[in-house]
């Protein structure tokens, strides 16, 4: 047990990015936009669900962005970006055909091997659905490899719901059980209102054979983990993705450090049981 610190065969790194083209732009909400991107040299990105890239715009800078598409869905890959800083603000002004720089993919992905054969409870809060979607669609594309699959998604309001097309398909599919809640709802909303854990009583899974993957804002983790532990899901079968400030993606700049780990190297996906080693994590 415990976090294994990653060491690599020494190799020189580069801050150069690969040019990539925006194939399509789809506005998802007031603040979030979905970009389908293809590397200009035509090669696949070669990522795992849960990994991230550094998006580069010369003169503006770089920002770490999680990959939201499953590696099973090619060509290209997708990024879901919330307009919140300088790079994401400049990205929001780009349209189809524009080019940008991509470095990566970086980090450890979700442990898909370990999840194989298990029932899955996949929990997303807010923008956490963006990285988790890479895993959800991966699982659905390899559906026979997994047991019962629940996707639980909580967001602020109906206007903030991301990936409505995916959600319609998940809601109407009989291969996945999709549960949605919002914190605040206008009159006429017929769905659930309340934080994401209010949906948990609906999850009818055998905890002994269940793994959970959780991605959301920092404040969400404690509550979701506590509920899942009470349901009987074991700590070593819970996986989280942690957000941190990142500048290099190479384990050098020091910004993403949590105790002894570099989130860009050992993370961003961690097993909850291992986080006992990292008091700063959640």
């Amino acid at each position: 047990m415990g976090i294994k610190l990653r060491h690599f065969e020494p190799s020189k790194v580069s801050y150069l990015s690969l040019p990539a083209r925006i194939e399509s732009v789809q506005k998802l909400t007031r603040a979030e936009t979905l970009y389908r991107i293809q590397l200009c040299d035509g090669r696949p990105l070669g990522h795992q669900p849960g990994q991230f890239v550094q998006v580069s715009l010369f003169g503006v800078g770089e920002a770490p962005i999680s990959i939201t598409s499953s590696p099973t869905q090619t060509p290209g890959f997708e990024l879901c970006v919330r307009r919140v800083g300088s790079v994401t603000g400049a990205l929001a002004r780009l349209s189809e055909g524009a080019t940008l720089g991509i470095r990566g993919p970086f980090g450890s992905g979700f442990p898909v091997q370990q999840l194989t054969g298990r029932n899955l409870v996949l929990v997303a809060g807010g923008l956490g659905l963006a990285p988790l979607r890479s895993l959800i669609n991966y699982v659905l594309d390899k559906r026979p490899d997994f047991g019962e699959v629940h996707v639980v998604y909580g967001t602020r309001s109906p206007d903030d719901i991301l990936f409505q097309r995916d959600i319609i398909s998940w809601s109407t599919s009989d291969i996945v059980r999709f549960h949605l809640t919002v914190d605040i709802a206008p009159v006429g909303w017929r769905g659930n209102v309340g934080v994401v854990t209010t949906l948990f009583p609906r999850l009818t899974v055998d905890p002994d054979n269940t793994s959970a993957v959780i991605v959301g804002p920092p404040v969400m983790y404690k509550f979701v983990v506590r509920e899942l532990l009470e349901m009987g899901v074991s700590a070593d079968q819970m996986f989280l993705s942690l957000e941190r400030r990142m500048k290099c993606g190479l384990g050098k700049c020091g910004h993403c450090q949590i105790n002894q780990v570099y989130v860009c190297q050992e993370g961003p996906c961690f097993c909850y049981a291992d986080l006992a080693d990292l008091p700063e994590a959640i």
Partner: protein
């Protein structure tokens, strides 16, 4: 290995000989005078490059400590990583990796104290492991002669190299100068250092009397520093782990000003920020990095506004654990050399030594 005697009057010719082949970098006295009348020193290039012998007389080999260690010559406070051309029409543009253009002149770093040698070895380990930093490596792998100077006694009240066991180092340099009365014993510690001593034919070999004296000086160094040991460095990682939730973090951090001075002067701090700057026509620019500091409030803040080390005590705990525990877990060694620069620069007297000692008192038994 060759040993010679470098008499005081031979120092200029020694530096001139080095200046034939190297840019000589050494401590010089800074112009400002402190309120107590003392001076500060900093490492500066003395001559323009190999073949230029001007400026060498500014070198000071007997000095307490340099304001900054020589890290800046391998990892500058500000450096361009890429130069880019922008394309105004929503296109990415193109860039050049500047690590390929780094070609420092041959350099002789003269006057490093043992703690600075130890710090450089730690940075070598960090930047040269796993993902190798090509900028650091390009500067570090250039032709280099390292001439260290022995410390005979602690350089300040704040230094704690006695405890960190970095007051003497056995590796990481080519030549060692140790003060012996009217000159220095010059001892070679590498093949390059040995070659230099053999070439400097005007220097007398270290005679038997001086050999004996040198042995005495080394044992005096051991005695002097042994008397100054304040904590057990080997127990630091364990005590930090046990003391993770100790009140010492709050007690010490309460007065922290979050100014980042400790980061700025630390020879083993390497964290950096990366950002872009464009020229006035906005058609080209550079992606560059500058030193950053984990004690600054915004260091762990993300775009969404969440700050993962918003509290001063969390930042202090991170910095001290990084030196004494976190990197020890990754690389098996401490990343602090006890130079005391952080404690000297601190306006409110926070020192790793105090924290290490406090934790040892509370958890060391």
């Amino acid at each position: 290995m060759t040993n010679k005697f470098l008499a005081n009057q031979e120092i200029p010719s020694f530096l001139s000989a080095l200046a034939q082949e190297y840019q000589v970098i050494a401590p010089v006295r800074r112009s400002e005078v402190l309120p107590d009348g003392s001076s500060r020193y900093s490492f500066q290039p003395l001559n323009a490059g190999p073949g230029d012998a001007t400026g060498l007389s500014a070198a000071v080999l007997d000095y307490p400590i340099a304001l900054n260690d020589p890290k800046k010559f391998f990892f500058p406070a500000r450096e361009e990583l890429l130069r880019f051309q922008r394309d105004g029409s929503g296109q990415f543009g193109s860039a050049r990796d500047l690590s390929e253009t780094i070609a420092p002149p041959p350099r002789a770093l003269v006057g490093l104290h043992p703690c600075d040698v130890a710090a450089l070895e730690q940075l070598d380990l960090y930047f040269g492991s796993d993902r190798i930093d090509p900028y650091y490596q390009a500067r570090r792998s250039g032709r280099l002669l390292l001439v260290a100077v022995s410390c005979l006694s602690p350089c300040s009240e704040e230094c704690f190299c006695a405890s960190m066991k970095t007051y003497r180092v056995d590796s990481g340099y080519d030549l060692l100068l140790t003060r012996l009365g009217e000159g220095f014993a010059a001892t070679a510690a590498s093949e390059l250092g040995d070659q230099w001593l053999q070439r400097l034919t005007s220097l007398a070999p270290l005679d038997a009397d001086r050999e004996e004296l040198l042995t005495e000086v080394f044992s005096e160094i051991e005695e002097t520093f042994a008397a100054g040991v304040a904590f057990d460095a080997a127990a630091v990682p364990r005590n930090l782990a046990k003391g993770y939730r100790d009140p010492v973090w709050r007690e010490e951090a309460e007065r922290c000003l979050s100014c980042g001075s400790c980061n700025l002067v630390c020879p083993t701090c390497y964290c950096f920020d990366v950002f872009d700057e464009v020229d006035i026509a906005a058609t080209e620019g550079a992606r560059l990095r500058t030193w950053d500091g984990c004690m600054l409030k915004s260091f762990a803040e993300i775009a969404g506004g969440e700050n993962f080390r918003a509290a001063r005590e969390a930042r202090l705990r991170h910095r001290i654990n990084r030196k004494g525990s976190y990197l020890h877990q990754r690389y098996g060694r401490l990343f602090c050399v006890g130079c005391g620069r952080c404690a000297s620069a601190c306006l409110v007297d926070i020192s790793p030594a105090t924290i290490f000692r406090t934790l040892e008192e509370r958890y060391g038994h």
